[in-house]
Symmetry: C2
Subunit: 414 residues, 2 copies
């Protein structure tokens, strides 16, 4: 595995991709969708090998499920490719411009990032998703998936590369690192000569490791310790509906609710109501002293609870005297992902949205909407929880950068 060689080839491929017309890119993406469906048998065989190895290694059932491909999932990947083909192409857009004092006409044009490194864990569908989004935005991609999915990922990459070949495009536009050792992952994270950006996808601890190890610029995606604050002015029935949705609709994802902050003026009436509403979902409730005075049977919440993203049917509850205390608690413990207030007080809604530091701040809605598809981007490469480059759901536009094009007539600087 020669990463430098892959890097050189990717950079050359990126040059070609950056010049492709949108219609040509869309044609290729649709051909890739056809090819996935035409090669189902081969894909399922490769995936079966991964599953056998995983069972030998005693991989746990949820991981096995994420790893598994079937006809429906292959169909979904193909549909995903066609959806990306249908999205508007951000490349070539002009993000404004101006004429400066010297008479130079300066425009800011959207261009691809260049070469993107993707490091991710078990799901083989990320291979196709990431390849499609990078390709549509004119970027070459070097993929490094988990060892559990290596046979599936190799089969998928081969299919996509065969399409590139038939279409007379460089196969290095989509490459897979087939050596899944940690050493090679580390080398990829430090391939500064060739990678323009690295996007990790996976658990919080995995992303943290990438941030600590990488010297290539990283777009951090992910962790979500999301709070909902129920104000004393809240429509409590609305608060119940939103919390049940945010906590239970899909607890394993990053935009699910993890903490309930409740104003003490309504805690006594609201906490029994929300406990009752969550009971059918078997959500384990934990609470601070004040919450446990109202719900005596719930588990005491410790300091660790306030910091933890459970990704599970667990909800910790804190009672606060006022909005300022709620904001203070949230800004201290949140992961700057998605935070919500349920209120009917206009001034409180303004204060909350202004003072909370997070990628997405909600008034009277479920945190579950933080998602590229729900936002209408038509795609999502991840949700950025850092502040550079992109914040919140990232679609195709976030896989691009800009270039200033300056048209002169002989200007020199005085």
């Amino acid at each position: 595995m020669n990463l430098n060689k892959m890097g050189v080839a990717a950079k050359q491929a990126a040059f070609t991709l950056g010049q492709l017309a949108t219609s040509r890119k869309d044609q290729v993406l649709n051909a890739m969708a056809d090819a996935l469906l035409a090669n189902q048998t081969q894909l399922l065989q490769a995936n079966a090998q991964d599953l056998v190895t995983a069972k030998v290694r005693q991989v746990k059932p949820p991981m096995l499920d994420r790893l598994k491909l079937d006809e429906d999932r292959i169909q979904a990947m193909a549909t995903g490719l066609r959806q990306v083909a249908n999205l508007p192409d951000p490349i070539g857009n002009i993000d404004g411009g101006f004429t400066n004092e010297a008479g130079l006409v300066i425009s800011k044009q959207r261009v691809p990032l260049g070469v993107i490194g993707m490091i991710y864990e078990a799901r083989p569908n990320v291979t196709v998703d990431a390849a499609a989004l990078c390709f549509k935005s004119g970027n070459a991609v070097i993929l490094r998936g988990g060892k559990e999915a290596i046979q599936s990922n190799q089969a998928l990459t081969k299919i996509l590369q065969d399409v590139l070949k038939v279409q007379a495009l460089p196969e290095a536009a989509i490459q897979l690192v087939s050596d899944t050792s940690h050493e090679t992952a580390r080398a990829l994270m430090q391939l500064n000569d060739y990678l323009d950006v690295l996007i990790p996808r996976g658990s919080g601890s995995f992303i943290k490791t990438v941030v600590q190890t990488a010297t290539v610029p990283v777009i951090e995606t992910g962790a979500g310790n999301c709070h909902i604050y129920v104000d004393e002015s809240a429509d409590l029935a609305m608060a119940v509906r939103i919390i049940v949705n945010a906590k239970t609709q899909r607890p394993s994802v990053c935009n699910a609710m993890e903490k309930l902050i409740i104003n003490e003026k309504v805690a006594k009436s609201f906490l029994p109501a929300i406990a009752k509403a969550l009971a059918p979902y078997q959500v384990e409730l934990r609470g601070d002293t004040a919450a446990r005075k109202i719900l005596p049977l719930i588990t005491p919440a410790t300091e660790a609870d306030w910091e933890t993203e459970y990704n599970d049917y667990i909800l910790a509850i804190k009672v606060v005297p006022d909005l300022a205390s709620a904001i203070n608690h949230i800004n201290r413990y949140n992961t700057q992902h998605s935070e919500a207030i349920i209120t009917n007080n206009y001034q409180h809604s303004v204060q909350f949205t202004q003072q909370i530091d997070a990628a997405v701040v909600y008034v009277n809605a479920s945190t579950r909407f933080t998602d590229g598809f729900e936002f209408g981007f038509g795609a999502e490469i991840g949700i950025s929880t850092q502040k550079l480059h992109a914040r919140g759901p990232m679609g195709l536009r976030e896989l691009t950068t800009t270039k200033y094009v300056v048209l002169g007539t002989g200007q020199i600087r005085e």
Copy 2:
């Protein structure tokens, strides 16, 4: 020196700064300008101590010059503060928005980054520049200047902090790391719990070290191995004027020209003309074999020349058969800063601007225009040569990020 303590204080200060009205920020910046002028004697005394120490350490004259403060330079710093006060405030701008399928009203609002770390070398004026730009954009800043300027930097920071105190604002909005050891610099570069971004300013090797060491997201500024390609269709008199400007107006800066790429069809007439025009400036010319056939007395250029940013009165010349070869050479060796073509062929101008990978691509103008002031931003924190977050000259806007504010009426996700 407790960096964690500084980080906690900076984060609290950032919360306050993020809520300040523009007029209040401008008032403080103007008060800072007044305070610098009122405390000139004290500043010059502190600077004199730095100069004595530097002379004992046998620091070289150009460095001594960069370190030195005098009345004019203090006046310039004060003027700089007032100019920043006069700039429009990016905070609170709405970068568009939309209503999604579920009826959520989603707006993308400009907010401060939070806490910015600045690491830089000798010039004390960077202390005031950086503090002013960070303050105006609502960010707290932790400054770490070079050991040569420590007395000056401490005196400057004290003056700015005294103004903050009088204005009843947190002094931790502007902090200086007074321990200039490498260990503390390293710790600052890894202060992920408190710093949102790190901006290094200094030499190329210094910035490279920061990129390798930092785990906090870095905005890379800097290195400029800038090329000018003279096309066979160029107005050669214009090419001479632009090259003399780009090479000699200020050779030590990153947007100065370092390489001349010349089309072989005009090399014979152009090279003697440019050699003659550069002679009064004593520019050392180096050339490839073809260039040396035309200018036999110049130094042979080696592989190292193509990669080097001289920052000096040196120019290396390469003769190419066509535009594609010029683009290929530039994309291989440039540092993605500023690149120019001199041409009168429309199609060539399009091809060059589309295919060159750099922050700023010029047609018929000097590369020296890559500058926040020349671009009309009214300020500059640096020139980004990387692709994430910001590319090219960075002004106040590039010191901000966005936050999605989502206004709902009880929406839950189906």
